[in-house]
């Protein structure tokens, strides 16, 4: 081997070995392998050699280049490893420090409960129909079989806007408006959620503005058995499988036969407490077969179709679901109340 080659080799390998950082290593690389580095310079001296020595000199320089490149690569990997190790050992955060601040928002508990309810009914083929809040006396009462002078008007303290217009006292006018909007198409199957108004003084269980969800199904073959099926499935899914449910005969002017839907008290599990008036049962909904007059008022022929309807108080359901004991909290817009309903 040419002495010059050997000298370059020893020097280069030694300097590579001595390099302390990737920067130094790069300087070594440039010194030996750069365009004007020692190894290219060696190769340039090849012309000064006798022709017969040239091939072997060239081969040796190339093998030197390979050797240096390998050493550089090995050293580079080693140094990089050292750098990473150094970073990993040196860089450190106090993980107990608070992270960046995010304050999530929340849906109102009434909206949450309503979504659950609509989801359940959606699964049973009900769509959503939204009806107006200001109504005519005609729609709110007369079309629902509650003529002037009907005793049911006593039960519903009504806010009037004029002699003939009012704030709806229930979502039931949505039955008639919804049917009329379907223009005779079948099957009719929708729920009507919304605000309703009663002239009741405010207390822990009364608020002049509250919410109801009405439901209606009309078709050529809808019967009391379907009403039972739908209402029972709803109550089971909303209140839980372990809930006992009963349909108890009752009276509404716009349904016949009518029933109240009672569920076993969620607080005392049916044993009797102050919330359920010691009966063990809670009234959660009213329901019934749509009265033929109402079917007629919706533009359908009661001799051809039958229907059932149900309605419940959203506020009451949400109070039971979340264990809220004062309806006024729903309308307080108090952050300390609302922010409790964050999350899934």
């Amino acid at each position: 081997m040419d002495d010059r080659i050997r000298a370059v080799k020893e020097k280069a390998l030694e300097q590579i070995e001595r390099a302390q950082s990737l920067g130094e290593l790069e300087a070594v690389r440039v010194r030996y392998l750069g365009r004007k580095g020692e190894i290219p310079l060696l190769l340039k001296t090849i012309g000064t050699l006798p022709p017969e020595e040239r091939p072997s000199f060239g081969a040796e320089v190339n093998s030197l280049r390979e050797r240096v490149e390998q050493a550089l690569e090995r050293k580079r990997q080693e140094l990089e490893r050292q750098v990473i190790e150094a970073r990993v050992t040196e860089e450190k955060v106090d993980t107990s420090l608070p992270g960046q601040y995010f304050e999530p928002g929340a849906l109102h508990p009434l909206t949450r409960a309503l979504r659950d309810i609509i989801g359940i009914f959606y699964g049973m083929g009900f769509t959503v129909y939204e009806s107006r809040e200001t109504e005519t006396d005609e729609m709110n009462f007369v079309k629902l079989n509650i003529a002037p002078g009907h005793p049911a008007r006593d039960m519903q303290e009504t806010f009037y806007l004029t002699e003939s217009t009012l704030l709806r006292t229930h979502t039931s006018p949505g039955q008639v408006r919804g049917m009329l909007s379907m223009a005779g198409e079948l099957p009719v199957r929708f729920v009507v959620p919304g605000r309703v108004y009663r002239r009741d003084p405010t207390d822990a269980s009364h608020h002049p503005v509250f919410h109801q969800v009405e439901g209606l199904a009309v078709d050529t073959d809808v019967s009391f058995c379907d009403l039972r099926g739908v209402v029972m499935s709803f109550a089971k899914r909303f209140f839980g499988e372990e809930t006992r449910i009963r349909l108890r005969p009752s009276y509404f002017p716009f349904t016949e036969p009518s029933c109240e839907v009672d569920v076993s008290c969620v607080l005392c599990k049916g044993k009797g407490c102050s919330v359920c008036g010691n009966s063990g049962w809670l009234e959660v909904a009213g329901a019934g077969m749509v009265h033929p007059n109402v079917i007629r008022n919706g533009g359908y022929d009661p001799e051809r179709v039958t229907g059932f309807a149900f309605g419940f108080g959203l506020d009451r359901l949400a109070m039971l679901k979340y264990g809220i004991d004062d309806i006024r909290l729903f309308y307080s817009n108090d952050k300390r109340f609302l922010s409790q309903f964050r999350g899934f």
Binding site: E103, L186, P208, V209, A217, D221, N333, L338
Partner: protein, 819 residues
């Protein structure tokens, strides 16, 4: 309606105890509001015979007697007329306890020891004193002695308190409930006294039996207002004596929530509770003239009612009058002048049918809610007046002596027309979903005392049907569906199988708008907003405080005609008053800040019959939005926070080309607010609260807010469409221009977007107002991202574009590029 269980069992022997009966009632639609055991709280009260009576040594109004209580003897002092040898009475022995925690001991009465006390009915039942002219209780002489009073009298009973729905007026009587109980249990119904003979509650109503004696009546009955009173029966009973009712009757009245008065009045009340037909007894001798009128009152007429109140009668009130004037407010309350007193000998019993609406209005107007009015206003059996009058006469005769005078004074303009309804078994099946057997339908309906007749098939159709005769007492039954309901109730709701709607879902998912509004809610939550729900009833002053006057549609709300209070007297015209109230409430609770929003209807006056309902989104933020932490500075509610939020919402809605024009209306700060315009129309406003409103509301700044018309947003928003993603790399270039201070930055950004080609985004990242930028000018630094869809942009292309932009900005705003 309180139903004493033993009384009920007098008419139908139920196979159930009270609790099971209550459960069955509930499940048949007679809702049980309460069920309780009512036991008279007494002890030490026994039957005893008065063996020997001697005069009291000191007082001649008292006697001293020796009583035999079935072994033990007691020496008792009493002044009662019935305190004489041989009589069997009720004795409270020393140590006995009477209701109201009255304890009877051995007392000294005018120098003589009295070992206990003989009792009147009132003492036994209430623990109070004997009433005027009330004697001690006298029992049949064969009554066993020493028996506790509880074993002799019906002093304990279960009471089923029914909360009847309006279709159950036929159950406002013990017999009415007994009919339901009989149908439920199959146990036969027993009608008391004369009612059986009169076929009371039969399908075609009550009817006078053959061969009843007749006689000329003292009074003629005149019905000049048959629309209000079409039927009036007067029944005379002669020769009554003043008495109190037996313990059993008084006790049952107490259990039913009524106060015993005297035997005559009690008998009328008892029969009312029994049959549901209210009755009134006049002292016949105090009625003037020879005619009784049921007529509308005349102007200026007054009456003193039984309760002693003088009442002036609203003109047109139905009254009962003799020839001198009103003697009763029909169906509501009798008059003082003709009431039954201790001296009454002869009675005229009234049993009538009054128009339910008329009684209801009268009772409402006079604020007199009596048991009678309650029954009349629901509608009583229009055929039962004579039958019940006879029953009451029978009862009075038994309780107060006297003889019913034969026949009745009566006038009836109601024509007997039985209500007959065709019931098709097809209707039963299609409504109920179950084929209830013919036999069961018939059993149910005849059990409820409907007349069930096979339908003669006049129409020639092959329909399986019945003709159902509806008893006149069933005022709630008027059409076929009513009968279907009766069958369903008695068939039992629990027996219907659960079925599930099977047909394809109609109409698809909830309406498109509904889904989009729900997504909007989720988005607002994701931005940290708390959903609020405010009262939609507000006060006009809430609007005035926000600077809206009557000329502004928002200051001229729809008003309620009968609000509960002025603070809830009109409908909201904006969501902002409610949200600002929420801010105030939260600030009072020392909440440092929040972002609240609400989606709901607001209401405007309209030329249509109904107000205009518009859905809006309202947002309000106050105070601290993000607290200062070790990582970052605090951030407060501000115009730009709110504008950023609104911009994001508009982007979410897919609305392009939105402009924020300076200066929104009240209650926004004129210098820190904007009107939001999209496609040429105002869709909302955004900004900070006007300082005047801050002080009017006593609200702590900073408060920022926005409202957006949801209907406009949903109307303008575009369906999501996929845009292909460019394969070529984006290029970023920064540009700084100096413009005069008064040039709105938004216009500069707009001009860049309009002029540049292949721009993906233009972001303002700095505003500089200090040297070297001269005074009165500002430097705007923007980052422009270029990206073409079909090629890599060359440096030359970008340089040309940049030049175009600079030239345009110079032309429009006198801008100079800053290098």
């Amino acid at each position: 309606m309180k139903v004493p269980f033993k009384w009920l069992n007098e008419y139908v022997t139920l196979p159930w105890d009270a609790e099971e009966t209550a459960r069955r009632f509930t499940m048949a639609g007679l809702k049980v509001e309460d069920l309780y055991y009512d036991r008279l709280d007494i002890s030490g009260v026994v039957t005893a015979r008065i063996l020997k009576v001697t005069p009291h040594p000191g007082r001649n109004d008292l006697k001293v007697g020796v009583l035999d209580a079935g072994g033990p003897k007691y020496c008792v002092v009493s002044g009662a007329p019935g305190f004489s040898e041989g009589n069997v009475t009720v004795l409270a022995v020393p140590g006995a306890r009477l209701p109201g925690n009255v304890v009877i001991g051995t007392r000294d009465i005018a120098g003589t020891r009295s070992e206990g006390m003989v009792l009147s009915s009132n003492e036994l039942l209430t623990g109070g004193s004997p009433r005027p002219r009330e004697d001690i209780i006298l029992l049949p002489s064969d009554t066993p002695l020493g028996k506790p009073a509880e074993d002799i009298f019906e002093l304990d009973d279960w009471v089923i308190d029914l909360e009847l729905t309006v279709n159950f007026s036929h159950c406002l009587s013990i017999l009415g409930v007994a009919i339901e109980a009989s149908a439920l249990s199959g146990a036969p119904l027993r009608l008391p006294g004369i009612l059986e003979k009169w076929q009371w509650a039969s399908p075609r109503g009550s009817a006078e039996p053959e061969g009843m004696p007749k006689a000329k009546q003292k009074f003629a009955i005149e019905l000049p207002d048959p629309d209000l009173c079409p039927r009036y029966v007067g029944k005379t009973v002669r020769g009554v004596t003043f008495r109190y009712s037996p313990v059993k009757v008084e006790r049952r009245l107490w259990l039913s929530g009524m106060r015993p008065v005297n035997a005559v009045v009690d008998a009328t009340n008892y029969v009312m509770l029994e049959t549901g037909q209210p009755l009134h007894a006049f002292d016949e001798d105090r009625l003037r003239g020879r005619a009784i009128f049921a007529r509308r009152s005349r102007p200026g007429e007054v009456i003193v009612t039984l309760d002693g109140e003088e009442r002036s009668l609203p003109e047109g009130t139905l009254v009962i009058a003799d020839e001198a004037g009103p003697v009763a407010i029909a169906g509501v309350m009798g008059g003082k002048e003709t009431e039954v007193t201790e001296d009454t000998k002869n009675l005229l019993l009234e049993s009538a049918y009054f128009s339910p609406l008329s009684v209801r209005l009268t009772s409402q107007k006079l604020k007199l809610r009596t048991e009678a009015a309650l029954r009349f206003e629901k509608g009583v059996d229009p055929t039962a007046q004579a039958a019940v009058a006879e029953r009451a006469a029978e009862m009075i005769s038994a309780l107060a002596g006297g003889e019913p005078y034969p026949g009745r004074a009566e006038t009836n303009v109601l024509s007997p027309c039985p209500k007959v309804i065709r019931l098709r078994s097809k209707s039963v099946e299609r409504t109920l979903g179950v084929a209830v057997s013919r036999e069961e339908c018939e059993t149910i309906l005849s059990g409820l005392r409907f007349g069930v007749e096979k339908s003669p098939d006049k129409t020639g159709s092959s329909e399986d049907s019945w003709c159902i005769v509806v008893p006149p007492r069933r005022v709630d039954i008027s059409e076929e569906i009513d009968l279907v309901e009766e069958i369903a109730r008695y068939y039992g709701y629990e027996r219907f199988p659960e079925r599930h709607l099977s047909k394809a879902i109609p109409g698809g998912p909830p309406g498109k708008d509904f889904v989009r509004v729900e997504r909007l809610r989720d988005f607002l939550v994701s931005l940290g907003g708390l959903e609020a729900i405010s009262n939609s009833l507000i006060s006009p002053s809430d609007l005035a405080k926000l600077g809206w006057d009557e000329k502004d549609p928002r200051g001229n709300p729809v008003r309620l005609t009968n609000p509960l209070s002025s603070s809830e007297s009109c409908l909201r015209t904006s969501l902002l008053p409610g949200l600002l109230k929420a801010v105030i409430a939260n600030q009072r609770a020392k909440v440092p800040g929040a972002l609240l929003w609400e989606i709901g209807n607001v209401f405007f006056r309209s030329s249509e019959e109904l107000p205009l309902e518009v859905r809006e989104l309202g947002i309000v933020s106050f105070g601290l939005q993000r607290p200062k932490t070790w990582l970052e500075d605090e951030s407060l509610s501000s115009f730009f926070q709110m504008k950023g939020l609104v911009t994001a919402i508009l982007e979410l809605a897919g609305i392009e080309d939105v402009t924020f024009l300076p200066k929104a209306s009240m209650p926004f700060h004129p210098g820190k607010s904007a009107r939001i315009v999209a496609k040429g129309s105002t869709v909302g406003e955004v900004g900070e609260l006007h300082p005047a409103c801050e002080s009017a509301l006593e609200i702590i700044p900073p408060v920022s807010m926005a409202w957006l018309s949801l209907d406009a947003l949903l109307g303008l928003s575009q369906e999501k469409k996929f845009t292909p993603i460019s394969r070529f790399m984006p290029v970023e270039r920064d540009l700084a221009v100096v413009v005069p201070e008064e040039v709105p930055a938004g216009e500069v950004l707009g001009a860049i977007k309009q002029t540049g080609k292949d721009l993906v985004s233009v972001t303002l990242f700095d505003i500089w107002r200090k040297p070297p930028v001269p005074e009165g000018f500002k430097s705007l630094a923007v980052r422009i991202v270029y990206q073409a869809f079909d090629r890599t942009l060359t440096e030359e292309e970008i340089a040309v574009d940049r030049q175009n932009i600079v030239r345009e900005l110079e032309r429009r705003f006198g801008a100079k590029q800053r290098v």
